[in-house]
C-alpha cells in the first residue's frame, strides 16, 4: 500500500469518526432530562415566555428536523449560535481554544520529555533502587487528583513562596516580551499539575515495554557482538519500546482534555475545558456540540499523526 493511500484511508476513517461523534453528541444532549429554557430563565418565567425561548433556540421542532438543520449548518461551516451568549459558537470556542492547546501541548511535551528518561532509568536498573523509586512515583502519579494537586501547588509555590501567580493566563497591562514572560509564569503550575497526572502511566508503560524489548533476541545478539550497552539501550531497544508508548500518547489525548477541564478550573486558566463545564451547567447545546466536534477533530487528527509517526517508527504498519 502506498503512503498516500495509507493517509487517504486514515482521513476517511477520521471523517467517519467525527460524524459519529457529532451525531452521538447531538442525540445525547437532547436525551438529557434538563430543559435549556429552565437552565437560563428566572423561576418566575411564564409558560408562554418559556415556549418562546425554546422556539428561539430551535428546540420546538421535531428531533429529525433539528438534526437535518444542524448537519446542514455544519456542512456550511456554521456551528450555530450560543443559546446563552447570543454570539456565534465558533467565536466562543476560538476565544478559548489557544489556551487549552498551549496547556495540553506543554503537558504532553513535558510528559514525554520526563517520561522517556525515567522509563529508561527504571528499565535499565530493573529491580534496583531507581527502578523501585520510579515505580512508586509512577503508581502515585496515577492516583493523583487534579484539584488536590493544583491547590497544593498553588498554596506552596503561589501563596507561600510567591514564585508563581495564583490564577489566570497572564497579567493585566503587560505587553511585548513581558507578556510572553507573564504567559510562561502562569503556565508553569497548571502544566506541572497536568503533567503529574499523565506521567505515571506513561513512565510505567515505557518501563514495561523497554524491559520487554531488552529481553529480545536481537538485543542479546547485539550484546554478544560487543555493542556498548548504552547504544543498545538508546538506539535499538528504545526505538522498539517507543511504539506502544506512542500509541499511549494518542490514547491519552482524550484524558488530557478531561484533565484540562479540572486543571483549568483550579488554576482559573481560560481554556475550552472550563467553557465546556459552563456550557454544561447552562445546557448551551450549540456550544457543547461545537466543543465536542472540535475535541473529536483534535483527537482524530492527533491519532492520525500518531499513526503516521507509527508508520515511520515501524515500516511494517505502512506495509500492512
Amino acid at each position: 500500500m502506498s503512503f498516500a493511500l495509507f493517509i487517504v484511508r486514515r482521513l476517511g476513517r477520521g471523517v467517519l469518526t467525527i460524524w459519529f461523534a457529532v451525531t452521538v453528541t447531538f442525540l445525547l444532549l437532547r436525551l438529557l432530562p434538563g430543559d435549556p429554557a429552565l437552565a437560563v430563565a428566572s423561576p418566575n418565567m411564564t409558560d408562554e415566555a418559556r415556549a418562546g425561548l425554546l422556539a428561539q433556540y430551535g428546540l420546538d421542532k421535531p428531533l429529525p428536523v433539528q438534526y437535518v438543520l444542524y448537519m446542514g449548518q455544519l456542512l456550511q461551516g456554521n456551528l450555530g449560535t450560543s443559546f446563552t451568549q447570543s454570539i456565534p459558537v465558533l467565536d466562543v470556542l476560538l476565544q478559548r481554544l489557544p489556551w487549552t492547546l498551549l496547556l495540553t501541548a506543554t503537558a504532553l511535551i513535558l510528559t514525554i520529555a520526563i517520561g522517556i528518561p525515567l522509563g529508561v532509568l527504571a528499565a535499565s536498573s530493573k529491580g534496583r533502587f531507581w527502578d523501585k523509586l520510579v515505580q512508586i512515583v509512577g503508581v502515585t502519579g496515577q492516583s493523583l487528583f487534579v484539584p488536590s494537586v493544583g491547590i497544593v501547588l498553588l498554596f506552596v509555590f503561589g501563596l507561600n513562596l510567591g514564585w508563581f501567580p495564583i490564577g489566570g493566563a497572564y497579567d493585566q497591562d503587560v505587553y511585548g516580551l513581558e507578556w510572553y514572560g507573564s504567559v510562561l509564569s502562569h503556565l508553569v503550575l497548571p502544566a506541572i499539575s497536568l503533567t503529574l497526572i499523565q506521567l505515571g502511566s506513561y513512565v510505567l508503560t515505557m518501563r514495561a515495554t523497554l524491559i520487554d524489548a531488552l529481553g529480545d533476541d536481537y538485543i542479546t545478539l547485539a550484546r554478544a557482538n560487543g555493542m556498548p550497552y548504552r547504544r543498545i539501550l538508546w538506539k535499538h531497544a528504545l526505538r522498539n519500546a517507543l511504539l506502544p508508548a506512542t500509541t499511549l500518547i494518542g490514547l491519552q489525548l482524550g484524558y488530557l482534555v478531561g484533565g484540562a477541564v479540572l486543571t483549568e478550573t483550579v488554576f482559573a486558566y481560560p481554556g475550552i475545558g472550563r467553557g465546556i463545564y459552563e456550557a454544561v451547567t447552562q445546557l448551551d447545546f450549540p456550544v457543547l456540540q461545537g466543543a465536542f466536534l472540535l475535541l473529536a477533530a483534535t483527537v482524530v487528527v492527533a491519532n492520525m499523526l500518531t499513526d503516521i509517526a507509527y508508520g515511520f517508527l515501524d515500516p511494517r504498519v505502512k506495509a500492512s
Partner: protein, 522 residues
C-alpha cells in the same frame, strides 16, 4: 378609592468618614463565573448582574430591611389603582454624552414586555401594560389590573438600558450587547476590555451622581474569574485580588476572619432555605403528615452544624426577620419533637410496623450543586427516621433537579431562594394556584383571598396585617417549611475600605455605590 402611595424620597446612605478623592487605584474583584450575557435584560448569572449593574442603573435599590430606596428614581408610587409612576434624576448621562431620560426608562420597560427576555425583569411584568415618558424626568406606567407591588418590583429588578443603542439592535431578548462597537454606561464604570475566561476591565466614568463627590474613587475595576472558590481565596490572601464578590462558604468564614490582612463583612440575606411538601401526594395532602414532618427536623442543629451558626430562624415563616415591617414574632418555629411527630402520624391513620417505621416513604429532591442543602438533607433524613418516617434522598445534577422540580416530580423539595424581597410578590408566586414557584401545589381559598387583597392594597399597615394573616396560614397548614435565612459573608483585603454593603448576594459589597466608594485604607 384612589390610593396615592408615593414613597418618600430618601438620600443615599452616608458612607461615613471622610470623602477620599478619586484616585488612580485599581480595585480587583474576584468572581467564580464568566459573564454569560452583557445584555442586562437577559443576564441571569451573578457575574452578569454585578458587571452590567456598574453600567446600567436600576430605578430603585434596597435597604437592609428589604424596603426599596432611591437610585435613579427619586420618587415612585401610584397615581391611581392602575397607574404607577417614577420621577427620575435629571443628572444622569450615558457615557457617549446622551442624557439618560424618562424615554430610556419607558423604552426599556415596553421592550421587555414586548420581547419577553428570559431575565428576572420580565417575570415581574405580569400586570404591566405599557410605560410612557410624560416628561424628561417622569414615567407613567399603565397596569392591566391593580398591583400594589409592581412599581417597587420592576423598579428594583429592572436595569435601564440606552434606547439609542438597544432600539436599533432589534429584539431585546436576542441582542447580545457584546460590545462590538464598545459599550455605553450610565453607571460608575464602563467595560473597556474583556479577556474571556480571565478578566473584565472597567474604567471610571467621571460623572456618577450616586457617589459622594460625584466621581467614583477607584480609577479601574477589574473582575477576575476564579472558578474554584479555594483558588479565589488564595488569590485574596496573596494580594492578587482585593475583594471576593461571591459569599464565602460557611466553613471558610471563621478561618478568614482570623487571617491577617483580610476583613470579612456581614451581609443580610434576603432569601431563605426551605422544604416543600408536594400536596399532590395523597399522604402529604394530609395536614397531620406535613405537621409530623415539620416536627421531625432539628432546625437548630442544622443551623449550628451545617451553617456554623451563620443563619437565623424565621420562625418557620415566609416573612423573614430581615423584612422587619412584615415580620411577626408571634409565629414561632416548628418544634423538633419526634414523639409528637409519631403521634401526628398515628392521628393521620398510620400504624408503625415492628421496626418502628410507618408505611410511607417520601422522596426528597435536592440539587447536588448546592453543598449546604446537600449536607442538611442528610440530617433531615436521619431525624425523620427517628420519628418513623422514611425519607429517600434524591440528589441530582442542577439541570435535572430543575426539570424534576418543574414537573412536580418529588414528594419533598429542598432548595433555596436568593432574594424574596417583596412578600406579596413572593406569596403570589409561591402559594397561588399556578404560581411559578408553587412547589407545594397548594390551592387554599382563604389564602388565595388574602393574597389577592394584599396585591391591590396600597396602605402599608393594612398590607402588613393581611400578609401576617396569610403567613400564619402558610405556617399552621405547613404549606411551606422555611428553615432559615442565611447571613452572607464577604471577604476583602484590609488594604481597602469604604464599601457600602447592601443586603443579598446580588448587591452585597459589589453594588455600584459600594464599588464607586471603595478606597485604599489609611
Amino acid at each position: 378609592m384612589l390610593a396615592l402611595a408615593a414613597c418618600a424620597p430618601q438620600a443615599p446612605e452616608d458612607t461615613g468618614g471622610g470623602n477620599p478623592e478619586a484616585g488612580s487605584d485599581t480595585l480587583t474583584i474576584a468572581t467564580t463565573t464568566d459573564v454569560v450575557n452583557y445584555n442586562p435584560l437577559i443576564g441571569n448569572s451573578r457575574s452578569d448582574y454585578w458587571i452590567t449593574n456598574l453600567m446600567y442603573p436600576h430605578l430603585l435599590s434596597i435597604a437592609d430591611d428589604g424596603s426599596k430606596e432611591p437610585a435613579l428614581a427619586t420618587k415612585w408610587g401610584y397615581v391611581d389603582d392602575t397607574t404607577g409612576f417614577y420621577e427620575i434624576r435629571d443628572d444622569f448621562t450615558w457615557s457617549d454624552g446622551e442624557p439618560l431620560t424618562a424615554e430610556d426608562v419607558a423604552y426599556t420597560m415596553n421592550a421587555v414586555k414586548q420581547d419577553a427576555p428570559s431575565g428576572t425583569f420580565y417575570g415581574q411584568m405580569a400586570n404591566f401594560e405599557s410605560a410612557e415618558a410624560v416628561s424628561d424626568t417622569r414615567v407613567e406606567v399603565t397596569l392591566s389590573k391593580p398591583d400594589s407591588s409592581i412599581i417597587d418590583e420592576i423598579g428594583f429588578w429592572g436595569n435601564v438600558v440606552p434606547k439609542h443603542v438597544f432600539e436599533p439592535a432589534g429584539s431585546v431578548a436576542e441582542f447580545a450587547n457584546d460590545g462590538a462597537g464598545g459599550w455605553v454606561s450610565a453607571g460608575p464604570y464602563l467595560l473597556t476590555d474583556v479577556q474571556v475566561g480571565q478578566s473584565y476591565t472597567m474604567e471610571r466614568v467621571d460623572d456618577y451622581p450616586l457617589v459622594e463627590g460625584g466621581t467614583p474613587i477607584p480609577a479601574k475595576v477589574v473582575y477576575r474569574v476564579f472558578p474554584d472558590v479555594n483558588t479565589e481565596i488564595l488569590a485574596l490572601q496573596s494580594g492578587e485580588v482585593d475583594v471576593i464578590a461571591n459569599a464565602l462558604p460557611p466553613a471558610q468564614v471563621e478561618q478568614l476572619r482570623n487571617t491577617d490582612g483580610i476583613e470579612v463583612a456581614e451581609v443580610p440575606g434576603l432569601g431563605y432555605a426551605h422544604m416543600v411538601y408536594n400536596m399532590d401526594n395523597p399522604d402529604l395532602a394530609k395536614l397531620e403528615v406535613r405537621q409530623a414532618l415539620s416536627q421531625a427536623a432539628d432546625y437548630e442543629t442544622i443551623r449550628d452544624v451545617v451553617l456554623q451558626g451563620q443563619a437565623v430562624s424565621t420562625g418557620s415563616s415566609p416573612l423573614m426577620p430581615v423584612l422587619s415591617a412584615y415580620y411577626d414574632d408571634s409565629i414561632t418555629e416548628y418544634e423538633f419533637d419526634t414523639d409528637k411527630a409519631r403521634e401526628l402520624m398515628e392521628k393521620a391513620g398510620y400504624t408503625a410496623g415492628p421496626d418502628g417505621m410507618f408505611p410511607v416513604t417520601f422522596r426528597l429532591l435536592y440539587s447536588l450543586q448546592d453543598s449546604v442543602t446537600s449536607q442538611w438533607v442528610q440530617l433531615v433524613k436521619d431525624s425523620a427516621a427517628e420519628a418513623g418516617i422514611a425519607i429517600e434522598l434524591q440528589g441530582l445534577e442542577r439541570n435535572t433537579y430543575l426539570a424534576k422540580t418543574d414537573e412536580g416530580d418529588y414528594d419533598i423539595y429542598a432548595g433555596n431562594f436568593a432574594i424574596m424581597d417583596d412578600p406579596v410578590t413572593n406569596f403570589t408566586l409561591a402559594y397561588l394556584p399556578g404560581g411559578a414557584i408553587n412547589y407545594t401545589h397548594v390551592d387554599d381559598p382563604e389564602l388565595n383571598d388574602l393574597i389577592a387583597q394584599a396585591s391591590v392594597t396600597n396602605d402599608t399597615d393594612e398590607k402588613v396585617s393581611i400578609m401576617r394573616e396569610a403567613a400564619k396560614i402558610v405556617h399552621d397548614k405547613v404549606y411551606d417549611n422555611i428553615m432559615y435565612t442565611q447571613n452572607l459573608y464577604m471577604a476583602y483585603s484590609s488594604d481597602w475600605d469604604g464599601f457600602i454593603v447592601k443586603p443579598s448576594e446580588l448587591l452585597s459589597i459589589v453594588n455600584p455605590e459600594s464599588v464607586a466608594s471603595a478606597h485604599k485604607a489609611e
